[in-house]
């Protein structure tokens, strides 16, 4: 760590009890982020609060740009990234929606900005509680999306995200659930700065905005050229999965924790697999343990990387199951839960006849507990095949 540990006590012991939001801040600090531009929004506020304090106390040698909106925050990040700086921001819900235009600009401009997003339900009704519709609404903006389940994973993923993004020039969004992760304190192993520096060298872009080599960036692009730019973005996006696995293994070698595309909990011999994302993945594990005690062979597949979608891994893990229940804390109105759509498309044409059940629960921060998963498991086991497009769990009827 550069200088003394900020706010959370000093000393050389690297384990700290921190909230999920501060795990993002520490991740950005250890990554030696050079420019941060952000606008505060509940439940993200502590992320940038701590980063601004780190900048003020010189614990982090970065420029903190205060802006008047999230749109401007992303715009500032894009300019800084184009000039060759490692750039970080964080937001949530309405703030992310306001950034939407510039999210396309970041990926289209191939600027490896890394952003933290705290999953918060979209208004109205005005909500500060968790659901995934904010980040999943940005599905097609060309950003890599990571869904984290613990504070440790948040910190580690920020560092990995910079490595992956800067390697392929694609921006990343690191997502965590409002309150159940953002404001929950957990023990987090904070890696040593020297080792992080070794893992994540300074950002040296191939191309950057510099007066010595003037270029026009993002100008009018005729039909003659635009198509190829998008082709290249997709081709590089297709390399992200393998790079996450590779950099995840490298991270494990150096820090003892593997960072992959999915997390498989007892899926290998499971008859019923519960597919989840974010913190509810850890909740599902508790339910899996309880179900196993009752003699039901359950397993949990937690999808960590949503974009690019890990089709092959998901397919290979799920094909051994008898039944699959996909649990979504989000909805695409007029369709299904969004992870459910993705899982279906991963299996189509590859795995025939596997009954897939789509559940929606926990919207707007309604609690998802182990008993929610037990209810889902029992429902799935009681039917031969899905009878409804969507099964709602927890609606007051």
């Amino acid at each position: 760590m550069p200088g003394e540990m900020y706010r959370h006590g000093g000393g050389s012991e690297m384990k700290k009890v921190i909230m999920g939001n501060h795990a993002l801040s520490y991740g950005a600090m250890l990554s030696r982020t050079q420019v941060i531009a952000a606008y505060p929004i509940t439940p993200q506020t502590q992320v940038v609060e701590l980063l601004s304090e780190m900048c003020a106390s010189k614990t982090l040698d970065a420029k903190f740009i205060k802006v008047e909106s999230e749109h401007s925050a992303m715009a500032a990040c894009l300019g800084a990234s184009l000039a060759g700086a490692r750039t970080f921001t964080a937001t949530s819900s309405q703030g992310l929606a306001l950034m939407h235009e510039l999210l396309h600009w970041a990926s289209g401009g191939r600027l490896p900005v890394v952003m933290g997003n705290i999953n918060r339900a979209m208004a109205p009704g005005w909500s500060i509680w968790s659901d995934q519709n904010d980040s999943l609404s940005q599905r097609d903006t060309g950003w890599i999306q990571f869904y984290c389940a613990s504070n440790q994973e948040v910190l580690d993923t920020v560092i990995q995200a910079f490595k992956v993004s800067e390697n392929l020039y694609i921006p990343s969004i690191v997502v965590l659930d409002a309150f159940t992760l953002s404001h929950t304190y957990e023990v987090v192993d904070i890696p040593e700065q020297d080792k992080v520096d070794e893992y994540l060298p300074a950002y040296r872009p191939q191309i950057r905005l510099t007066p010595s080599e003037p270029h026009a960036f993002g100008g009018l692009t005729s039909p003659e050229h635009y198509f190829e730019l998008r082709y290249k973005l997709q081709k590089d996006m297709e390399k992200v999965g393998a790079l996450i696995e590779e950099t995840g293994k490298e991270y494990e070698k150096m820090f003892g924790r593997y960072l992959g595309l999915v997390e498989d909990y007892l899926c290998v011999d499971a008859d019923l697999i519960l597919v989840t994302s974010g913190t509810m993945g850890f909740t599902a594990r508790v339910a899996v343990d309880e179900l196993r005690k009752e003699g039901i062979k359950a397993g949990n597949l937690r999808i960590k990387v949503f974009r690019p979608f890990p089709f092959e891994l998901v397919r290979n893990i799920l094909k051994k199951a008898q039944k699959v229940a996909v649990v979504d804390r989000n909805i695409s109105y007029g369709h299904h839960g969004i992870f459910f759509q993705e899982v279906k498309s991963a299996l189509y044409g590859h795995v025939d006849g596997l009954p897939l059940f789509g559940f929606i629960t926990g919207l707007g921060g309604r609690d998802i507990t182990p008993s929610t998963f037990k209810e889902i498991a029992l429902y799935t086991l009681s039917k031969n095949k899905p009878e409804e497009e969507i099964v709602w769990i927890g609606v007051k009827r």
Binding site: I207, F217, E228
Partner: protein, 99 residues
């Protein structure tokens, strides 16, 4: 007419030649915006005081000063009329474009 900076038309034959980011992959020199014009500036040089304000204000860099007199580049002039509006000597008239 003073010669514009030369630019070669960029044509990529393969995606491999296309830069990673949309950067300097076209030139506005090939976009002859003069075709957009409905009215054109006509400069009455007898009244011109050679102040250079039309040259300075033209948003499309379509007015040049040649041997101290303004000349309009009709390949690019969109006919916005800013030069006529700003001219202190009122020597620029916007006249109907005949195509």
């Amino acid at each position: 007419m003073k010669k514009r900076k030369q630019a070669n038309k960029i044509i990529f034959h393969s995606e491999k030649e296309v830069p990673l980011m949309p950067m300097s992959i076209g030139s506005m020199l090939f976009n002859k915006t003069g075709a957009w014009r409905n009215i054109r500036p006509a400069i009455e040089l007898e009244k011109c005081i050679q102040c250079g304000i039309c040259w300075k204000f033209c948003p499309d860099v379509a007015i040049f000063i040649e041997k101290e007199w303004p000349v309009v580049d009709y390949d690019y002039c969109k006919g916005c009329g800013i030069c006529a509006e700003e001219c202190p000597a009122k020597c620029i008239a916007m006249v109907e474009e005949v195509k």
